[in-house]
């Protein structure tokens, strides 16, 4: 696929994504100041030396935003990877094995799902030490549940296909079937789900940090930046809005790109590997028909 085939929206989204990636990878070189250095008065207006102004303690806002992007995205990525590794594994096993393993996994998942994820996180993090690995672990474990649901239904769909039956009759082991038959066919949908999960974990993490239960100051992250600068709103300082805006921009960029990739995958030229699957399964963003079934909304924060 060459650049010529991209739509304007996709080009902008790709550029935006590159910008966020650059911030994540190159924060120490891109940021004009270290994140903790005081460069002026608190909530100073944008100037030559501090392009976005300063924050509540007089630190350069742009630098903190860039460093915050790095921390937020790295933590989100780590949590999403944990959620996926665990969720996909459990989901595939549940979907493929069935029987009591399936029942056990599903009932546990029902319980976890029965109250919103934010409340779980609040309860669990209220006493745990709020270190980075702990936050990553908690987010990953909570979100693994929803990944598990998707992976399980995918595995059940795919395992009714002829080629899985053949592999089973051939006497292949479970691990081989999972890895060689189910996984490649589930990949497209799983990637779309990964992008969506990433957005939700990002929202989740910044909500926690905003409430003071996520990443702890002085480490900058998006939710924490909004929290630190929220009092400035009363004086008309918009510093608290910037992290939310950055988050929303990134989410829209990811959404546009995933939609683009998926719509190309399902064009007649590129035949989906499993007939009918691409039509029947959840694709793209959070606002999809499939989300209507029972799990949709709590997602955003819940």
């Amino acid at each position: 696929m060459s650049i010529k085939h991209l739509t304007a929206a996709e080009l902008v989204a790709a550029a935006g994504l590159c910008l966020f990636l650059a911030c994540t990878l190159l924060a120490p070189w891109l940021a004009p100041y270290p994140p903790d250095q005081v460069v002026g008065f608190s909530w100073a207006a944008p100037s030559q030396s501090a392009w976005l102004g300063t924050d509540n303690l007089g630190r350069d806002l742009l630098s903190r935003l860039i460093w915050g992007t790095r921390i937020s995205l790295v933590v989100t990525l780590a949590a999403a990877l944990i959620a996926f590794a665990l969720g996909v594994l459990l989901g595939f096993i549940a979907g493929l094995r069935g029987g009591w393993i399936d029942q056990l996994i599903c009932r546990c998942s029902d319980v976890v799902m029965s109250i919103p994820t934010l409340i779980w996180a609040l309860i669990v993090l209220s006493l745990l030490p709020k270190t980075l690995p702990m936050i990553i672990l908690v987010l990953g474990l909570i979100e693994a549940n929803r990944v598990m649901r998707v992976a399980r239904s995918l595995a059940m769909d795919i395992s009714t296909q002829g080629f899985v039956e053949v592999a089973r009759l051939r006497g292949e082991r479970l691990r081989w079937i999972l890895w060689r038959e189910i996984f490649p066919n589930a990949l497209t949908v799983l990637l779309a789900e990964f992008a969506m999960r990433f957005i939700f974990i990002m929202l989740f993490l910044s909500a926690l940090s905003f409430l003071g239960l996520g990443i702890q100051p002085p480490t900058p992250d998006w939710g924490g930046l909004a929290r630190e600068n929220k009092d400035g709103i009363i004086f008309g300082v918009w510093a608290a809005l910037l992290p939310g805006l950055a988050l929303a921009c990134l989410a829209v960029c990811i959404n546009v790109i995933v939609d683009g990739v998926l719509s190309r995958r399902s064009t007649p030229g590129a035949r989906p590997r499993v007939p009918g699957l691409s039509a029947a399964l959840p694709v793209s963003s959070a606002v999809d028909v499939q989300a209507a079934d029972a799990e949709g909304v709590g997602e955003k924060n819940g």
Binding site: S114, P129, F210
Partner: protein
């Protein structure tokens, strides 16, 4: 319709409702165990969480005695659960006051905020969804789609502060904090919660409208709708007699889920607007390490969430006879 009646006679509805109710209660019981276990058994024990790492052993021991931490976990759980059932939520560590009264007041506030939001957002969402399903592909339809996508990824601490900045600071029309108190007359109260209400509407409206649209569109592609259209029924009649009855269950589901989200997920909005609701109470409890408050809030929020999900289940069963013999 006839088959539905027969079916209802075969599997009496009360029994079905009873099963769902029992399941929900069971779920609540398990959740209560998890909440209790989560707080009592996790590493980082309560006493050192309250007193800090540098507490003297004597102070710790005294605190543990006061909290009843010398008892075994099971008996503590049972007495906690028993107290909950009698409406006794224990005593707050930080204020020394009984939790039940504060909890009732906070829950009331949260329900009021969520109720006001629902009263505006639900009819509006249904209308927008209906309209854009009927005018598929129009500018407004596509606009709605784009807006919904943007709104889903907009964190509330962004939209909330943006609204404060615009309406409270720049324009000066509305108050920036929603600090309501007991004897406020209704009109003042509504004036104070206008902005949080607006923020919440932004959060749920797009999703509900889009789901309504999707449900309607999915039904409109069914062959029986085409038949109805081909036999010359008016568009309104097709919608009313053939599309809507089948679209209700998914729509009800989405609405109830959004309501559940409203009541439970308002934590952030309450925090932004300093609204004395349940979510704010819980966050306060967490920052003061007030374990009984955290437990009580967690359990009440879980109960509300489970109850709304149960209601969604029951309403969609009632709205769609076919769902009655699914399981």
């Amino acid at each position: 319709m006839v088959s539905a009646w027969i079916d209802a006679a075969r599997r009496p509805l009360p029994r079905l409702i009873g099963t769902r109710l029992a399941l929900s209660l069971l779920m609540l019981l398990v959740v209560s165990m998890l909440i209790f276990a989560g707080i009592q058994l996790l590493p980082g024990d309560a006493a050192s969480a309250i007193l800090g790492q540098s507490a003297t052993p004597a102070a710790r021991q005294q605190l543990e005695l006061r909290l009843g931490l010398d008892q075994p976990a099971l008996s503590r759980y049972l007495s906690w659960l028993g107290g909950m059932l009698r409406g006794d939520f224990g005593v707050s560590f930080s204020s020394g006051q009984p939790i039940a009264a504060a909890l009732a007041y906070r829950l009331n506030n949260t329900l009021f905020l969520a109720g006001c939001t629902a009263l505006i957002a639900v009819p509006l969402a249904l209308l927008i969804g209906l309209w854009s399903a009927l005018h598929r592909g129009s500018v407004l339809d596509r606009g709605l789609n784009a807006l919904t996508r943007a709104a889903v990824s907009l964190p509330e601490f962004f939209s909330g502060y943006l609204l404060i900045l615009v309406f409270a600071i720049w324009l000066g029309w509305l108050p920036s904090s929603a600090a309501v108190f007991g004897e406020m007359p209704l009109s003042t109260r509504l004036y104070f919660i206008a902005l949080p209400c607006f923020t919440l509407i932004l959060a749920v409206l797009g999703h509900m409208a889009n789901m309504t649209r999707a449900a309607l569109l999915a039904i409109q592609q069914e062959s029986y709708v085409e038949t109805a259209r081909l036999k010359g029924l008016s568009p309104w009649c097709v919608l009313r007699c053939h599309v809507l009855p089948n679209a209700w269950p998914p729509i009800i589901n989405v609405i109830m889920l959004n309501l559940a989200y409203l009541i439970v997920g308002v934590v952030i909005v309450e925090n932004v607007f300093v609204y004395p609701g349940l979510g704010q109470y819980m966050i306060d409890g967490i920052s003061k390490r007030d374990i009984p408050v955290i437990q009580a809030c967690g359990l009440v929020l879980a109960a509300v969430y489970i109850a709304l999900n149960l209601l969604a289940d029951l309403l969609s069963i009632l709205a769609n006879p076919r769902l009655r013999h699914v399981d």
